[in-house]
């Protein structure tokens, strides 16, 4: 695909990079990324992938924008309260860059649709807010062999890892199974600094772009953790686990399954 003069100007700061260049930008324009969760992590990831000219970006979310989302979910504006998150996010992404096709999947990722959702994409970003969804996405990406950026945030902390299924350590290699619902902090306790979502979601976007470009070293076989209060990043080396219930030597998981989600005490805080 030939780039127009406008596109060459729009993407000039990419094209100037030796690791991107014209060919790399053309690759991005021909790529497809799925973002599951159009919230704190999905907001910066969606904005940067749209600005970068990723050809197709899919958004998966069934929620509507709430006032309490706006402290960190920077893709949604005050005027979007009550609108579906995917349509609100898609509108901003299209406004940033008309080159990008945004696909709106106004649904939750579940066992019955997860494989279908990830199938058409080159890379998946997990921006969900609960453990059952995170394990489901890890499993779906393993079965579909789709590269995945996993991330989580809480209070002043964030962490992420990149997974090349059946090649590098997966989420279950490290965390095995969702924690017991009683152990998960209730919504009222689980605040988060908005900028933490911005940093971690942006790192996920950077991993997606590196994968699509085939440049640099991905954050595989490692968990990058960041604490904003101490302003400390740590990269913890990981290995694939032979005992992993999903990708180990004797797996016990052979199909997708919905795990019951912990009931949230502060329903209004969700989103």
């Amino acid at each position: 695909m030939e780039l127009s003069d406008q596109q060459i100007e729009r993407y000039s700061r990419h094209i100037l990079l030796e690791e991107v260049g014209l060919a790399g930008q053309q690759r991005l324009l021909a790529s497809r990324v799925l973002i599951i969760g159009a919230g704190g992590l999905g907001a910066p990831a969606g904005l940067y992938l749209a600005a970068a000219g990723v050809g197709v970006v899919g958004l998966v979310d069934a929620d509507r924008v709430e006032l309490s989302n706006l402290q960190r979910q920077v893709i949604h504006h005050s005027s979007d309260i009550g609108a579906s998150k995917v349509s609100s996010a898609a509108a901003k992404m299209r406004a940033i860059n008309p080159d990008v096709t945004v696909r709106e999947h106004n649904t939750m990722a579940r066992a019955e649709n997860a494989l279908e959702l990830v199938r058409d994409y080159d890379f998946v970003i997990d921006g969900t807010d609960n453990f059952p969804a995170k394990f489901l996405i890890n499993d779906a990406c393993y079965f579909a062999r789709k590269p995945l950026s996993h991330a989580g945030i809480l209070r002043f902390d964030g962490q992420l890892m990149t997974i090349l299924p059946a090649q590098t350590a997966c989420y279950r290699c490290v965390f095995r199974a969702p924690p017991p619902p009683g152990a998960v902090p209730s919504c009222s306790q689980a605040g988060v600094l908005g900028a933490v979502a911005g940093v971690i979601g942006s790192l996920q976007a950077a991993e997606a772009l590196k994968f699509l470009l085939g440049r640099g070293e991905l954050l595989t076989n490692a968990l990058l953790t960041w604490n904003a209060l101490r302003m400390e990043f740590r990269k913890v080396a990981l290995r694939r686990s032979p005992n992993c219930p999903l990708c180990g030597a004797h797996p016990s998981i052979h199909a997708l399954e919905d795990a019951p989600e912990a009931v949230c005490e502060l329903k209004r805080g969700r989103g």
């Binding site: 929620d63 969900t128 809480l154 902390d157 964030g158 152990a183 998960v184 988060v192 979502a197």
Partner: protein, 71 residues
Amino acid sequence: MTLTVNGSSVEARESSTVRQLLVDRKVKMPEMVSVELNGEILERSGFDTTTLKQGDKVEFLYFMGGGNGAQ
């Protein structure tokens, strides 16, 4: 004995189990932690039975939800 816990040097009681280390390090919710010992993820069932030795490298890796809402 001296251990390395999440990158920092830590004094621990001789022959502590992983469970004891979690308590001594004041980890409030061990259900929310996965433990890596010398580069290998330890099964949860091994927290009580695995004793630590001088020089061991331990990583407490925390379950972290969040992202979209408040979890």
